[in-house]
């Protein structure tokens, strides 16, 4: 099978105990990326998780709070799907088949938000003194 990305011979040894490239198999298959790439994404996931935690720790409130939470969440989700799950290197047909259907959920979320508001107002009007 064709080596699609970086050739394994260009692998950069990094100073992580488990990350040294061992003997390369004679038949490398699938996608080849340097271990360094995964370590970077790992670090970035840590950093963005720490940022999300800080949002709560410093008790940011209101629009700023939920904007930051959602931005950090989407950044982390994109890294996981694109790099760890290798979606960035898949063909567009597979990307579209997997990433487009979840957009339908936005409609569900919108409908349930309207419904939730309605239930809340009904409860206020009818059951809460």
């Amino acid at each position: 099978m064709a080596v699609r990305q970086h050739d394994i011979e260009t692998d950069v040894p990094v100073d992580h105990s488990s990350a040294h490239a061992a003997g390369h198999g004679a038949h490398a298959e699938g996608q080849q990326h340097p271990i360094k790439l995964y370590l970077w994404i790992w670090l970035l996931l840590f950093v963005f998780s720490a940022f999300s935690y800080m949002v709560d720790y410093f008790q940011l409130q209101g629009a700023l709070r939920w904007t930051l939470i959602i931005v950090f969440m989407l950044i982390k989700a994109s890294f996981i799907v694109a790099i760890f799950m290798h979606m960035a290197w898949e063909r567009l047909a597979l990307k579209l088949a997997i990433l487009v259907p979840p957009l339908a959920l936005l409609i569900l979320i919108a409908l349930m938000a309207i419904e939730g508001d309605y239930t809340f107002l009904t409860r206020l009007a009818s059951f809460v003194k």
Binding site: Q32, W42, S52, W66, F84, M85, A93, M112, T119, F120
Partner: protein
């Protein structure tokens, strides 16, 4: 070989060609395509849980319990909000990192390192489930949280919490078993005899998805 990437057209012309030509639509191993389809269906399940959580949280007239306080830990006299959840998040991210590297060594057919990294991933997953068990015990025994009500605030908190984190924990538990079996087969040379390590990549997809779901649970349930 089921495909030759070099001859496939890129972009939207490629999409048209992939979907309309008289051939396999997705030029990837079938196990990988099926895992993606399964994960898509799982996305809808978790989204339904999170959407129902949003709905009950919006519609309740009782105050929602303050998650920063509910999930706080006291370490050496210091009260640190959401500490346990932060540690659980770090553990799961780390397990995702080791899994990504396991897949990479799988591509190189490095039997030993692939197995080591997969066992490490499974161990971290087990660690995560252990902390979740601790968290559930604390909530059920010490705080008196039940699916039908709790002394902290809105009754819907318990049912949402147990349903969402329980289903996620079930996925992690299943993943630990799955990874252990695959890692064992890697170590025994099963995939060398089979001629392909693609099962490692498919298992990796599942494990990264578990991490992905946690990103959303962390944001919506714990931080919101």
């Amino acid at each position: 070989m089921s495909h030759e990437p070099a001859t496939l057209e890129p972009g939207f012309r490629g999409v048209t060609a992939d979907w309309s030509a008289d051939k396999q639509a997705f030029p990837v191993p079938w196990g990988k395509a099926m895992m993606w389809i399964f994960l898509l269906s799982d996305t809808f399940i978790f989204s339904c849980f999170l959407t129902s959580y949003m709905n009950v949280r919006m519609s309740t007239t009782d105050p929602w319990p303050n998650t920063a306080e509910v999930f706080a830990l006291t370490v050496g006299g210091h009260h640190i909000p959401l500490l346990l959840i932060a540690i659980m998040t770090m553990v799961l991210i780390t397990s995702s990192g080791t899994m990504a590297m396991a897949v990479n060594f799988g591509y190189r057919r490095d039997r030993k390192r692939t197995a080591q990294l997969m066992f490490a991933t499974a161990a971290l997953g087990l660690c995560f489930v252990g902390m979740q068990a601790f968290e559930w015990t604390k909530l059920i025994v010490d705080e008196g949280v039940r699916p039908w009500g709790n002394p902290l605030g809105a009754a819907q908190f318990g049912s949402s919490f147990f349903m969402i984190t329980g289903f996620h924990g079930l996925h992690v538990t299943g993943g630990v078993i799955y990874l252990t079996v695959v890692a064992w087969r890697v170590l025994s040379g099963f995939y060398d005899r089979k001629g392909t390590y693609e099962t490692v990549e498919v298992a990796g997809l599942y494990w990264h998805f578990v991490d992905l779901v946690w990103v959303f649970i962390f944001a919506f349930f714990y931080l919101w």
